[in-house]
């Protein structure tokens, strides 16, 4: 550890907090309640200075988007505008209790309603729920909607089809919703294999889960055929919105005949990832699925915005309140700032940056799928592995050059995969620098593979023993 644990700063009696005086007389605990009082806790006792210095030091051991390129494929690590943070901290927008009367919340409800309308416009969906708190939460919500829809139609459908290139959350969400998962292989061009799909589809099929472009960054050119095939057996088609940054303003899931989808506000709409969350995963549906959305649903009449609680066909609630409102404020601020034309320009530049990187890297790293790709692409480190260092090693070596690594070993359909997504907020110098670093590493592997295999060398800790961590878990102090 470069910085010791906060508990190691603890000194009995040291105090970092301040509370107002009690002012009222103390009430005794009656005998029954006093049985429930605990002896003590073992929290750190530290000063405010200790807390400030410790967490400042921890922050310095981290890498964020403000530190440099973050080319994690499928994560869309774009710049998080500071002004959105300011909007989310306006007291009269943030210091709100979820059970305040709606009349006191018309400003916030207006913002949420605008966000709904804009998401619907971007996706060509008809109705939106903002309740899911993450992308996977949105997936689960969507599949529960699918489930409820068929229950309502009194059809028993048990199967959900997922391509082998899908995010792991897709099959996991389907399982949580009580479906069986059937995986289908991609074809040699990295797309859905129509024959495999046809074979998989039957009367038991509830849905196909698909992202488009897929996790290889490749647009499913037969998308209309695919959605048609699924609909033909009476099943639904669900769109995983993780890759919306590839098509905003150019194409819409609704126009591709998807029936429902989720968004990731923390990817497409620039809200910060927070070291792993919070995110926000709104779900959009076509009209016929709207009755099944989680309750309540935000509505508007002539006079006011209100939460419609009377939703007899709803799947129920998926969150204590209305979802990750603070994140929605940021996404709203982003959409208002960038505007409709700006969103399209965003897409163009995200795709341009990715294609530029691909073009500059494809000679030195294997490109398993030659197909045109959009906002991200997948390389393979197979050639380098043969020379002595794997994709994992390359990733770790990148850290020595003060750059974050791409997503590695995903999608599973590519061996030694490196999935690269630069986003539109990186400039050409940063992209060139990333390319040059990867080319340097590729050269290093030829010349001195041990150097790369033993990376990282210059980080605060060197390569950590994950096997030991799992074998003898040490999960708290």
């Amino acid at each position: 550890m470069e910085e010791k644990l906060i508990k190691d700063y603890s000194s009995p009696g040291r105090k970092g907090y301040s509370l107002p005086p009690l002012e009222v007389e103390e009430s005794e605990f009656n005998s029954e309640l006093s049985d429930y009082l605990r002896e003590d806790v073992q929290l750190p006792e530290v000063s405010e200075v200790d807390v400030i210095r410790h967490y400042t030091a921890l922050s310095e051991m981290n890498y964020g988007v403000d530190s440099g390129i973050y080319p994690l494929g499928s994560c869309t690590m774009k710049y998080n505008p500071k002004r959105n943070e300011r909007v989310a901290r306006i007291a009269a927008l943030s210091n709100l209790h979820p059970y305040q009367p709606e009349a006191q919340l018309q400003g916030s409800l207006e913002i949420l309603y605008q966000l709904k309308l804009d998401l619907a416009e971007i996706s060509a969906m008809d109705e939106i729920t903002l309740q899911p708190a993450s992308g996977a939460h949105g997936e689960f919500t969507s599949l529960m909607i699918v489930k409820k829809y068929f229950e309502d139609k009194e059809e028993k459908r048990t199967k959900v089809i997922v391509p082998d290139s899908a995010h792991g959350t897709n099959p996991a969400s389907a399982t949580m919703a009580g479906f069986e998962v059937m995986e289908i292989a991609s074809n040699e061009r990295g797309m859905v294999d129509l024959e495999a799909l046809a074979e998989a589809l039957d009367q038991d099929t509830a849905a196909l889960m698909l992202t488009n472009p897929n996790t290889l960054g490749i647009f499913e050119e037969d998308i209309l055929k695919i959605t048609e095939m699924v609909h033909e057996v009476g099943a639904l088609v669900y769109y995983d919105g993780a890759n919306m940054n590839a098509i905003m303003g150019y194409a819409k899931p609704g126009l591709m005949n998807f029936d429902l989808m989720h968004f990731n506000l923390h990817k497409t709409f620039s809200t910060p990832h927070g070291g792993g969350g919070p995110g926000s995963g709104p779900v959009g549906v076509k009209d016929f699925l709207a009755p099944y959305l989680p309750k309540p649903v935000l509505k508007k009449d002539e006079k006011k915005y209100y939460w419609d609680q009377k939703r007899p066909k709803s799947i129920g609630k998926v969150h204590s309140f209305y979802g990750n409102y603070g994140i929605m404020l940021r996404a709203w601020a982003y959409i208002k700032t960038v505007g409709g034309a700006g969103l399209k320009k965003t897409t163009e530049n995200a795709v341009l940056n990715a294609n530029y990187l691909k073009s500059r890297l494809k000679d030195d790293f294997e490109l398993p799928y030659a197909e045109d790709s959009l906002h991200e692409f997948v390389l393979s480190g197979s050639r380098q592995k043969a020379e002595g260092a794997s994709t994992l090693h390359i990733a770790k070596r990148l850290l020595d050059y003060d750059q974050y690594a791409p997503t590695i070993y995903f999608p599973l359909v590519v061996k030694e995969a490196m999935m690269i997504e630069p986003t539109e907020t990186e400039n050409i110098e940063t992209l060139d620098h990333f390319v040059e670093t990867l080319l340097t590493i590729s050269r290093e592997i030829k010349e001195d593979p041990e150097l790369v295999k033993n990376a990282p060398h210059s980080t605060t800790v060197r390569k950590l023993d994950e096997t030991e961590a799992a074998r003898n878990p040490n999960l708290h102090w």
Partner: protein, 446 residues
């Protein structure tokens, strides 16, 4: 304004490298039929000045908690949030980072989560915690599903003293896992242990209790625990309010197998109910650990023997196990967990206890005074910690609530919303005596 870094000249240079003429060529694989041929029907982008003005004007249509006196709780709590939390989480290395997949460049996030796990274990008395859940309700729902998986039984006892929103979410998730729920009806704001004794059977996989319960009261934890523990297969899930665990015995002492809850109260603001912070802890038991959803951070060593932290036990998770994962949870509430960690570090033992005590004494002061007023009665006056049920006699609760709103007081959560009588009133350490006395006075003259 947009956030495109490259200039037109640079874009042309890049297009040239790719071998294309115009940027539209990048999208030529998209079939015409699905292409959006019109510009998005979203207004043009605005400048920062305009954005801030728009946001401020819109904010004026709200009335926030600090513009009035609030006694609202019912699952979202207005506790003191030390200012240093925002200062620290605003360090961009924290909030603009991703999930710490590359551990060596993410030791800050990882060490903080390890601290979070340690403090949650301390508060709950449990041996294992994950790195956070989406919120209290979904954590409870995942705990129930986990309990059913472990017990391999599908019947779940669900008392009505659990937060009604949580019960709804538990049922939504339960519909996925195809669980059967038995509702238990309370008397005098707590569950009669004999009811559990009556309902529990060989198909019962999970019993859930809330501590303190939705009405602020403490269930007969020991007695109920004894009943549950008679069948070793039954998984006992306790939903706890962590801010009170500086004062109250840890759920582990009542034999909890899984403890979950909402940790928004720990240094997180209200934010209209989100982002919140679900937490989830379980017994230190390999079988339970294998079933625990979500990320976990572990301490290990690097190649030179230096200690460090990594995401561990990832074979439970969806990106490896896919449809066989314990959960689909991926993005969690890491930044909120960091806020809770800083909160607990700042408050320490004495601070957290004092918060609990202040809540207790202030709410009891208020309840006693109101109970003495004609026309009002505190239903659970012998048994509550910082939230109580106020019953209004000879008047409609909704009328009382409405009149007080006009006087800048939010009296509490109207239990009408869940089909019951009364108002759930919450008092935190933030309320001053002057505010309590003002409420008492207003109620008296109403």
């Amino acid at each position: 304004m947009d956030y495109i870094s490259n200039t037109p000249a640079e874009r042309n240079k890049m297009l040239k490298e790719i071998g294309l003429e115009v940027v539209e060529d990048l999208f030529k694989m998209i079939p015409k039929e699905v292409k959006a041929d019109e510009q998005l029907n979203i207004e043009s982008g605005i400048s920062e000045l305009e954005l801030m003005r728009k946001a401020q004007l819109t904010a004026k249509k709200n009335k926030s908690i600090d513009q009035q006196i609030s006694f609202l709780g019912a699952g979202a709590y207005d506790h003191y949030v030390p200012g240093i939390i925002d200062a620290l989480i605003s360090r961009s290395e924290f909030y603009t980072a991703y999930t710490p997949y590359q551990a060596e460049l993410s030791q800050g996030t990882l060490e903080a989560i390890y601290e979070y796990q340690s403090m949650i274990c301390d508060l709950t008395g449990m041996g294992i915690t994950n790195a956070s859940m989406l919120d209290g309700a979904s954590a409870a729902a995942e705990a129930v599903a986990m309990g059913a998986r472990i017990s391999r039984r599908s019947k779940v006892l669900l008392p009505d003293t659990i937060n009604p929103a949580y019960r709804e979410v538990i049922k939504t998730y339960g519909a996925g896992a195809e669980l059967e729920f038995i509702n238990l009806n309370s008397e005098q704001e707590i569950i009669d242990p004999s009811l559990i004794e009556k309902e529990i059977d060989a198909s019962t996989g999970v019993v859930v209790l809330q501590y303190p319960n939705f009405y602020g009261s403490i269930e007969k934890m020991e007695e109920i625990s004894k009943i549950i523990k008679e069948d070793k297969k039954v998984v006992f899930v306790i939903i706890a309010n962590p801010i009170l665990l500086g004062l109250l015995k840890p759920p582990a002492e009542f034999g909890a197998d899984i403890v979950v809850g909402e940790a928004q109260s720990l240094g997180n603001g209200l934010n209209y109910g989100g982002p919140n912070l679900g937490f989830m802890a379980c017994k230190d038991d390999r079988k339970m650990l294998r079933q625990l959803p979500g990320r976990i951070v572990g301490k290990t060593k690097d190649v030179e023997g230096k200690e460090g932290f990594v995401l561990t036990l990832q074979t439970r998770e969806q990106h490896i196990r896919r449809e066989k994962a314990t959960s689909n949870i991926c993005t969690n509430e890491a930044l909120n967990a960091l806020m809770a960690t800083i909160y607990l570090s700042t408050m320490g033992n004495t601070g957290l206890r004092e918060v609990g005590e202040q809540c207790y004494h202030k709410s009891h002061y208020l309840a006693e005074k109101i109970d003495q007023l004609p026309g009002y009665e505190v239903a659970n006056k012998d048994n509550f910690i910082h939230e109580f049920i106020l019953k209004v006699k000879n008047k409609k609760s909704s009328e009382v609530l409405k009149k007080l709103i006009q006087q800048d007081i939010l009296l509490g959560f109207d239990l009408k919303r869940i089909g019951q009588e009364g108002i759930l009133v919450c008092v935190t350490e933030k309320r001053t005596k002057a505010e309590l006395d003002k409420l008492i006075e207003k109620l008296e003259v109403l």
